[in-house]
């Protein structure tokens, strides 16, 4: 008892604290009721299907434009979606088919291999950045890495067109330049989106795996040799 009294004495001064009476305390405790207007906006059951699809396509297209002109913005991060990465991955895997590899065992990547490399690689890079203390969420990071494959997919399409005309040294030089430029573009675009989410002394640790990832994809594109 006495010990308790004496123990409370150190905190004795705190009991004198009180709110002075000339500071008015007033407020309103009421929960704002959501207007019925909000319900109408979120209900998308009644709209035509075309409108639903177009809305998603517009969102995907909007993000493509953000990747084409990368500047520090949070558009990709705020409304992430994985449609764009899926579309790009399928396109890239399809374009990488039809090479010399199809006829024999050795050689280029199969469709599933491209898929595995792109998605597995993105997941590992995302895990890496989260383990290093990044503030970006898992799917946001997947979204950014997937969308930034777009320059490389465009490069693949250009390479295939170049290969139609011939596969000599000139076409190789052109393909090399195109792939190098698009690889640099992809890496620059993804770092523009991802850089802000990392603590400053670990930025290089997060950027390096992204660099390696796009380098490997660029290598797959460059070594694509057409069947003769």
């Amino acid at each position: 008892m006495a010990a308790a009294e004496e123990a409370s004495r150190p905190f004795a001064g705190l009991s004198d604290v009180s709110i002075s009476e000339d500071i008015p305390v007033e407020g309103d405790i009421s929960v704002p009721v959501g207007s019925s207007r909000r319900d109408d906006e979120f209900s998308t059951l009644d709209e035509p299907v075309k409108e639903t699809i177009l809305r998603d396509l517009r969102a995907v297209g909007n993000k493509f434009i953000h990747v084409l002109y990368p500047k520090r913005s949070s558009a990709l991060l705020r409304d992430w979606d994985l449609w764009g990465p899926l579309l790009l991955c399928v396109t890239l895997a399809l374009l990488l088919q039809g090479g010399a590899a199809d006829s024999d065992d050795q050689g280029g990547p199969q469709f599933a291999e491209v898929f595995v490399i792109v998605w597995f690689g993105s997941i590992i890079i995302t895990l890496n950045s989260k383990l290093l203390g990044g503030t970006i969420s898992f799917f946001q990071s997947l979204c950014v890495l997937g969308y930034c494959i777009m320059p490389l997919t465009v490069a693949m399409a250009v390479c295939r067109i170049v290969l139609i005309s011939g596969s000599g040294n000139v076409s190789f030089a052109v393909r090399l330049v195109v792939v190098t430029v698009s690889f640099g573009w992809s890496t620059f675009a993804s770092t523009a989106f991802l850089a802000d989410s990392q603590p400053p002394n670990r930025k290089a640790l997060v950027v390096y795996p992204v660099f390696l990832f796009y380098f490997v994809i660029g290598w797959m594109i460059l070594t694509f040799s057409p069947s003769q």
């Binding site: 010990a3 004496e6 123990a7 004495r9 150190p10 905190f11 001064g13 010399a100 590899a101 024999d104 065992d105 050795q106 050689g107 280029g108 990547p109 291999e113 890496n128 989260k130 383990l131 290093l132 203390g133 002394n201 670990r202 930025k203 290089a204 640790l205 390096y208 795996p209 390696l212 380098f215 490997v216 290598w219 797959m220 070594t223 694509f224 040799s225």
Partner: protein, 320 residues
Amino acid sequence: MVNVVCYEQQSEVKKRLCGVSQTSFCIVEFEEAGNLLEPNRDATTISIEDEDIKPEKKRKAAGFPPDDEDGDPLATDDKTELLSGQQKSVPFWTFEYYQRFFDIETHHVKERIIGSVMPWPGKNFIQVYLRRNPDLYGPFWICTTLVFAIAISGNLSNFLTHLGDPTYKYTPEFRKVSIAATAIFGYAWLVPLALWSFLLWRSNKIMNLVSYSFMEIVCVYGYSLSIYIPAVVLWIGTFEWLQWCSIVVALFLSGSVLMLTFWPAVRDDHPKIIIATMSAIVVFNILLAVGCKAYFFSNSERKVLVKSAATVLTKAPSST
């Protein structure tokens, strides 16, 4: 972490530490709080977790002796182990468990890579660079880079050797990436596992002052592979003797780093065991380097063989 010590009465110790004559409580550092309790057993203590203290400071406060000149620094292992074990232990299936191994910064990784290629007698890699903070970032990404470097360089070197050969059909050979990955990740994880279990078994027999944790051994092995990345790139399109030269240099550097690291762990042991352990470390290193060279870069002999076989076949009908 800070300890808040409350006193019922003013004591000499409290006055000395807090420097005030009349206080209800004062905040003292972790080590001193332990001393405070001794004269005054009736004091009540409240511990408050301070979220702002970085892990670096925590380790410094735990009395880590990196420059302990008097006596073997490894002899204080027990004390630092006890003190650094203040961090709460999380189960290994949670995310936070692995976040512990990514607690490094860019300059740490750079220092560790440079330290792994410059063996300095007396400087133990684990002691000097790891400092009780083994990381998984370095080993994992160095191994991944090495896998792709070997596959790409092998492919390029194959292509360059057969340049001008009309019968050669270029293939990217992506199957080799998985073979390279198996070999390198196996070396980087299974050999440390074997070494760690062997050292654990030996430390039960002889009283060893030095003991390395599994993560530290994995870390050393991972960083020691970093010299092979420039070596592998150097193997593209160069002469045979230059390739073997670079293998020897890389083997020497990484092998000596490994040997210098594990020497303190086995030096108290039976001489035969020391020789066996050291040679096993070196032999596995050599096997990896030579195996990779032979499998991914063995194109020059094949080309010579093919050409000589072709000439023999064309000569034979003409001689009859």
